[in-house]
């Protein structure tokens, strides 16, 4: 390819369209920085979801300036959804064809700045009010699909599009530890998700939820460990962040539904039901989704097996087909959650004791222990020792033999019921566990207690307890395991 610019590029350089900055924009976005040498800044004036005005400024090479000019021209006057759909390929078209080799970053740069302006627009609108408000009925055919950059969410959006939905995609900025954070533009995950959406012809938005995520998920995660509990951050995110944010955007766009790439199904009630691919079942982490949000939620992957999902991605040529499975907690990509917590809270040493309170040894801090843990206790004994209880106040870690871990009743708080509690026939207390038959009873303090038909090992406070119907197929409700009353 020639490294000379096309006449269209030079024309945009010499006669830039929409150059400048709006004095009172509804959103402002900037991308690039000093070390990469190019900076693009977009301001947008949005009213009734129409991008009435777009102004841009660029410090950068001719490609960046021309791309900014062409993008501003393409987007001004368009519906927000159409503006958010403009892809690199559209921009290249407006510039007369592909840019010279090595200049493609100009497209990424200006698109990123525009999308950050959209993001700013949403975040200004959202303010602190990012709450559930039910939205429209479930009848319409429009949906906001959350996209993480992985294969599941990409196929989710694709399936919805193919079944005739109007789809808008959204990626959330949740924390700063995202993979491939570079000095310029957005982290690779956002750019990748945007690119994937655009290749499917779908509009893409980003929402900055870092503050919310920090407050509702990360602080809770650290705090729980410090209190000797075993938190599940995915549950906290589903309870407070992901579905609320998707729902907010759907309301703003006048869309009916929200969708994610979770493996679960929504059934009448609404309630959650196990997916076709039981090995991928995520109903256990979805129990806290408020009913009014669940009623507008679609989980297209509930009807597919993971292998089918990958096959669909491959068949449709989605680059995400080959992304690895994400397993870890998203804000701790290396999986070292103890190291993560230690950075946030100082460890206080304490005693390792047995059931009778005899001191067996010392430990460096309660955050290193979780109920059921066998390794790293640091005390030798003839039979294997397990952590049976963590007492953050006294700094004690109680250990015992396997039988000491067995519980026959589980106290549960903060319940979210989809169906009548009387339908709760079994309870699951671990992500990959299986439900155990139980009977439930409300307690005087507003919590519930589940009496298990058979003992269960290592139930830790802070985990989720999810109740299923007698056939084990549908979620009746869920809650958080409370500390044993002892």
């Amino acid at each position: 390819m020639s490294d000379r610019y096309r006449p269209q590029v030079i024309d945009h350089l010499v006669r830039p369209r929409n150059a400048g900055e709006l004095s009172d924009p509804s959103g402002r976005g900037e991308s690039g920085d000093a070390s990469c040498g190019d900076v693009a800044c977009f301001t947008v004036g949005i009213s009734d979801n129409v991008v009435e005005h777009v102004r841009y400024k660029v410090y950068g090479c001719a490609a960046c300036i021309a791309a900014g000019s062409a993008l501003a021209e393409l987007v001004e006057g368009k519906h927000l959804l159409d503006g958010a759909r403009v892809s690199k390929a559209d921009l290249e078209g407006a510039l007369g064809g592909p840019l010279p080799a090595g200049k493609e970053h100009a497209l990424t740069l200006v698109l990123d700045a525009l999308h950050k302006a959209f993001e700013d627009h949403w975040n200004r609108k959202a303010g602190d009010m990012l709450g559930a408000n039910g939205g429209r009925g479930a009848g319409g055919r429009s949906v906001v699909a959350a996209m993480s950059g992985g294969v599941d969410s990409a196929v989710t959006a694709l399936l919805l599009k193919e079944t005739g939905y109007d789809v808008a995609t959204v990626t959330f900025r949740l924390h700063d530890g995202e993979r491939g954070s570079r000095s310029c533009c957005s982290p690779d995950t956002v750019l990748f998700a945007r690119d994937t959406a655009h290749r499917m012809g779908l509009p893409h938005f980003t929402l900055n939820l870092k503050e919310l995520f920090q407050r509702r998920v990360m602080q809770d995660f650290v705090g729980s460990y410090n209190e000797g509990k075993t938190p599940n951050p995915c549950v906290a995110c589903n309870a407070h962040v992901k579905f609320h944010a998707s729902s907010f955007l759907a309301d703003e766009l006048g869309f009916h539904h929200v969708a994610t790439g979770h493996y679960a199904r929504v059934e009448e009630g609404p309630t959650l039901a196990r997916p076709v691919d039981e090995s991928k079942d995520q109903t256990y982490v979805l129990w806290p989704v408020p009913r009014e949000l669940l009623s507008r939620t679609i989980f297209p992957l509930g009807d597919y097996r993971k292998t089918d999902v990958r096959a669909i991605a491959e068949e449709r040529g989605l680059a995400v087909a080959y992304t690895p499975e994400s397993q870890d907690i998203c804000f701790i990509p290396d999986g070292d959650y103890r190291g993560f917590i230690r950075k946030k809270v100082a460890a206080k040493p304490g005693d390792v004791v047995d059931g009778e309170g005899r001191v067996l040894g010392r430990h460096a801090g309660v955050v290193d222990f979780t109920v059921g843990q066998r390794r790293g206790i640091g005390v030798s004994a003839p039979t294997p020792l397990y952590v049976s209880e963590v007492r953050p106040r006294s700094g004690q870690v109680v250990v015992g033999c396997r039988q000491d871990l067995e519980v026959r009743e589980v106290r549960v708080r903060d319940l979210n019921w989809f169906l009548g509690p009387e339908q709760a026939a079994c309870v699951q207390v671990r992500y990959n566990g299986s439900p155990v038959p139980c009977t439930v009873e409300e307690t005087a303090d507003g919590g519930w207690v589940a009496y298990l038909d058979e003992p269960v090992m290592g139930v830790a406070a802070g985990q989720s307890a999810v109740f299923y119907t007698g056939d084990g197929e549908r979620v009746v409700g869920g809650g958080v395991v409370a500390r044993r009353s002892s």
Binding site: G20, V39, Y59, K103
Partner: protein, 386 residues
């Protein structure tokens, strides 16, 4: 639009019609290999010798000290690698200035793989090497030192005679890249004790693809190209006869016309400088007095170099950019960073280099276009507050 105006003479100069004329017979007709014994070869050899005389005269050398090469880069590489490799095994140190041409810097970097330690000599804000710092960096095990005669970007002329003198007193072979200086700065190797000195044809209105390395008699140099032993064994390969002949003509003209050219260029250069300096946020880089007669190097706040160059190109003026923007980012010039510019400033630099054929009218036209381009690009720049 009228004929575009060329103001990038440091990149390459136009070919002087008189040079072209002298080359034509060797591009067609009775072509011979200078190494051949017959009449064809003899004629080529004769022309080669004439060219060697002309190039030698330009710098006060004797013809036997001129090695023809493919250009400035090869000359620099031959000097740096050649001097280093012919030094004794106990000499494993090289001294190189930060403002040398990439050909010298990269060759020096290459030497690190051959076990050499390289000391980089910094510069002041004007791009000048400090002779005391230079002297202090020379060691008993120094195999060679290299400082550019005049920097190709900002045009600062180094205190070359003094530096070469220091090096010579310490018995350290000294290489000077005089690619930009030759024809603009009087160079006399009989008075300036350089060991080697690089020249290029196309910066002197000669052809591209031909250059020379002056190698002082008695200086030992390991070749970097091996073969038939042409050019005294220092540069094997059949000579580029037409190119060398053109280079010879260009060198002769440069010597004969130097005074007039320099006066002409300086007037145009100063016209550019005083014109652009009336625009706020435009600064001249490099030494104000000790600078090449044709060079204006500018920082233009808030404007990225490539966009300015292409904007002016669209308006019919060809100037040089001081940085290259490539995949995912810019690469700031190490020369400018050595002079203390920030990365951001180093992305906002352009180089205007006038030539013997430019006119004051062209400069005036350029100044108008330049202020239009700067104004418009600043209007869309998020980094210029005005």
């Amino acid at each position: 639009m009228t004929e575009p105006v060329y103001l990038d003479n440091a990149a390459t100069t136009p070919l002087d019609p008189r040079v072209l004329e002298s080359m034509l017979p060797h591009l067609g007709g009775r072509r011979g290999n200078p190494s051949s014994l017959h009449a064809f070869g003899g004629l080529a050899r004769e022309r080669l010798d004439e060219a060697r005389d002309s190039v030698a005269s330009l710098i006060g050398a004797s013809p036997g000290e001129i090695v023809f090469t493919s250009g400035g880069t090869e000359s620099d590489d031959l000097a740096v690698l050649g001097l280093a490799r012919s030094a004794g095994p106990e000499k494993r140190h090289a001294v190189v200035s930060c403002v040398d041409h990439a050909a010298v810097r990269e060759a020096a970097r290459r030497l690190k793989y051959e076990g050499f330690e390289v000391s980089w000599i910094g510069v002041d804000a004007d791009g000048l090497v400090d002779p005391d710092e230079f002297a202090a960096s020379l060691r008993p095990d120094t195999a060679l030192a290299a400082v550019v005669y005049a920097n190709n970007e900002v045009g600062t002329i180094e205190p070359l005679p003094q530096l070469a003198e220091i090096s010579s007193e310490r018995d350290v072979p000294f290489h000077a890249d005089a690619v930009q200086a030759a024809g603009r700065v009087p160079i006399d190797v009989s008075e300036t004790p350089v060991s080697t000195l690089a020249l290029s044809g196309h910066k002197l209105y000669g052809p591209q693809g031909v250059g020379a390395l002056y190698v002082r008699e008695g200086v030992s140099l390991e070749p970097i190209i091996y073969g038939g032993g042409q050019e005294g064994g220092l540069r094997s390969g059949t000579q580029n006869v037409a190119g060398v002949v053109g280079f010879g003509t260009a060198a002769r003209l440069a010597r004969e016309e130097m005074r007039g050219r320099v006066t002409h260029e300086m007037a145009l250069r100063d016209r550019v400088m005083s014109g652009v300096e009336t625009i706020p946020g435009v600064f001249v880089n490099g030494h104000r007095e000790r600078r090449l007669s044709n060079n204006v190097h500018l920082t233009v706040s808030g404007v990225e170099a490539e966009s300015l160059v292409l904007f002016l190109d669209a308006l019919g003026y060809a100037i040089g950019s001081g940085s290259a923007c490539s995949s995912g980012g810019h690469k700031a010039s190490p020369v400018l960073l050595a002079m203390g510019l920030t990365e951001r400033e180093a992305f906002s630099v352009v180089r205007i280099t006038v030539g013997k054929d430019n006119t004051p009218e062209e400069i005036d036209g350029f100044l108008g276009a330049f202020s239009t381009a700067v104004e418009q690009l600043r209007e869309i720049s998020p980094l210029y507050a005005g």
